[in-house]
């Protein structure tokens, strides 16, 4: 399946992309993130990330489907 991944803040700087299209057979968001750590070694030390699928905050065990927009958020720091 084809997915569109969006990276923010420190993740954008670590991957060098604000978004990228990837082909993946990852069953869950968690598996996808592990794949991305292989593709982008600078993500290896990522901690406390959150994820959203199609603009809804999602669980790391969520399953993926073709065409999903996956947003990976590093730890937030508003205020």
């Amino acid at each position: 399946m084809k997915l569109q991944i969006h990276w923010f803040a420190a993740f954008r700087e670590a991957t060098g992309h604000s978004k990228e299209s990837v082909g993946s057979e990852a069953a869950t968001v968690s598996e996808l993130f592990e794949e991305m750590k292989t593709r982008h070694p600078a993500l290896a030390s990522a901690r406390g990330a959150k994820v959203a699928i199609n603009d809804e905050l999602a669980d790391w065990n969520s399953t993926l489907k073709d065409g999903d927009k996956i947003l990976f958020f590093p730890p937030v720091a508003g205020g």
Partner: protein
């Protein structure tokens, strides 16, 4: 009534206050988060906030709705800045109006704590020594949907 906004412009505090005036309310509490000139022992020159606006607005409104349900308040508004900010500028403002003060104080505290922990907003600090850093919020470790396998953080900074 509640309203949540992300703003690229300086927050007009007079207008913000005026938008909350309500004859049924005897209490008005605000919190302003300002750009501070130091963090974790380092001299900070300026800040930039990155915001994923579609989700920040949705989650921000959800927080205000929670505050309306949890506390006896009449009005609650919040505005968070995005982009580059100068020293001492307000980065976030929360305002709560209610019949009595106790609920307004509690709701204001609830809203700013949840905003800092839950909204997809990231702060980059620019230091006097030329370095820059994305700041990790200390609350992110207990936010509801953190990656449970990767939530242990070290060296978090007070923000």
């Amino acid at each position: 009534m509640n309203r949540f906004e992300i703003s690229s412009e300086a927050i007009d505090l007079e207008q913000f206050r005026a938008s909350l005036v309500d004859e049924t309310c005897g209490a008005f509490v605000t919190f302003e988060g300002w750009v501070r000139n130091h963090n974790d022992g380092r001299a900070v020159l300026r800040l930039a906030y990155e915001v994923y606006e579609p989700l920040a607005v949705k989650e921000g409104l959800a927080i205000l709705e929670e505050a309306m349900k949890k506390f006896e308040i009449t009005q609650v508004h919040a505005v968070h800045r995005q982009g580059e900010l100068a020293m001492s500028e307000p980065a976030v403002v929360v305002g709560v109006a209610s019949a009595h003060r106790d609920a307004a104080f509690k709701a204001c505290r609830y809203v700013i704590d949840e905003v800092k922990a839950r909204l997809p907003i990231w702060k980059k600090e620019y230091y006097a020594d030329g370095d820059t850093e994305w700041v990790n919020c200390q609350h992110s470790v207990h936010a509801v949907k953190d990656n449970s396998t990767a939530t242990k953080q070290t060296g978090n900074k007070q923000t």
